[in-house]
Symmetry: C2
Subunit: 206 residues, 2 copies
């Protein structure tokens, strides 16, 4: 018996290079999940092979700024001259229909979500060690040492935001981490702040 008939907004975040995307993919490959991935909106050009509404919703800069102005973005950021963000309407619709909605976003965006939807579940993905984080940033490609150091410094700063989150999950193993996240989502449905309304109805009925 479910006392809570709404979906939960699950915010996966953490420092750059921690492996948020990989964990999110592992989560969606798990059996029997009822998760919906919130497709982001962007003003950048569509790339070869990308699909509108699957990889991103592609809009013009004017449309995006209009949406910001009207409060239609749950969170957004500008990155290398393009906007990226999460449209609020889609998220709310899915939650009301009882689906869990997963956002995989940067720390900055997560902070915006926190202020707009405080009942979301905030999960901080942490690296197993600082060395592991540095290794991941290094192994990404052919970037200069200076750029890697810059990214690492940024990631270190982001590491200190963990205390703002509800949960900390270490990415030592992608599947372990995904399973932990699934466990957290299930448990959250029983939390009193989510069940008390249904519980009060149960008391009223008779």
């Amino acid at each position: 018996m479910k006392l809570d008939d709404k979906g939960i907004l699950v915010v996966l975040s953490g420092p750059s290079g921690v492996g948020k995307g990989t964990i999110r993919k592992a989560l969606f490959e798990m059996e029997g999940h009822d998760l919906i991935y919130s497709v982001s909106m962007t003003t950048r050009k569509m790339r070869l092979g990308e699909v509108e509404g699957k990889d991103y919703f592609f809009v013009s800069r004017e449309e995006f700024e209009e949406k910001i102005k009207n409060g239609e973005m749950l969170e957004y950021a500008e990155f290398v001259g393009n906007y990226y963000g999460t449209p609020l309407k889609y998220v709310k619709e899915q939650l009301n229909e009882g689906h869990e909605v997963v956002l995989e976003i940067e720390i900055q965006g997560a902070t915006q979500v926190k202020s707009k939807m405080p009942h979301a579940v905030f999960i901080f993905i942490a690296p197993p060690s600082l060395k592991a984080l540095h290794d991941r940033l290094t192994s990404r490609g052919t970037e200069s040492e200076e750029l890697i150091q810059k990214r690492f410094d940024k990631a270190l700063n982001e590491m200190h935001m963990a205390y703002m989150y509800d949960y900390i999950v270490v990415n030592d193993d992608v599947h372990n981490a995904a399973e932990k996240i699934m466990t957290i989502i299930k448990a959250e449905h029983a939390r009193t702040e989510r069940t008390i309304h249904g519980y009060e109805k149960l008391l009223e009925v008779e």
Copy 2:
């Protein structure tokens, strides 16, 4: 990788007649659990078949009152002239060794635990309906209608304490309920208040 090496104190409570004991038993019959049941202390006489240290720790009234005076009881209550309670020392030792300790106690005792160990996880067991609760109280035996009504009124009062708890789990099916509780315990280990200390160590090491 575990950021949290301590056990969690799990408080199962709820109105009389909701089936706390049955759920606790189902929980301990689950495979692969690392739960320890905290044996209560009592001043009542040992009954035939009961085992010291398994069913209860049996002590004299003087010993029990001495423990209350010395702050050695995590919670206690007097019932039909006898004391029942949870010795604090055993619980703390088990938690420090990394075991989850389960208390199955009355609402009144849970309130005492809340003030002494605020980091415990408080799970309220709710009946699927008020009628189900009434039925359970009725089916218990041969008690008078008056006594049953008294118990039901008490249970109704206790139902309103749910908002003090961290989680509400409906006892519609014993095994579902036990599984939900296990899920909650697992998820709680990732909560930031429990992991932040280990996480900070992870940041320091390098």
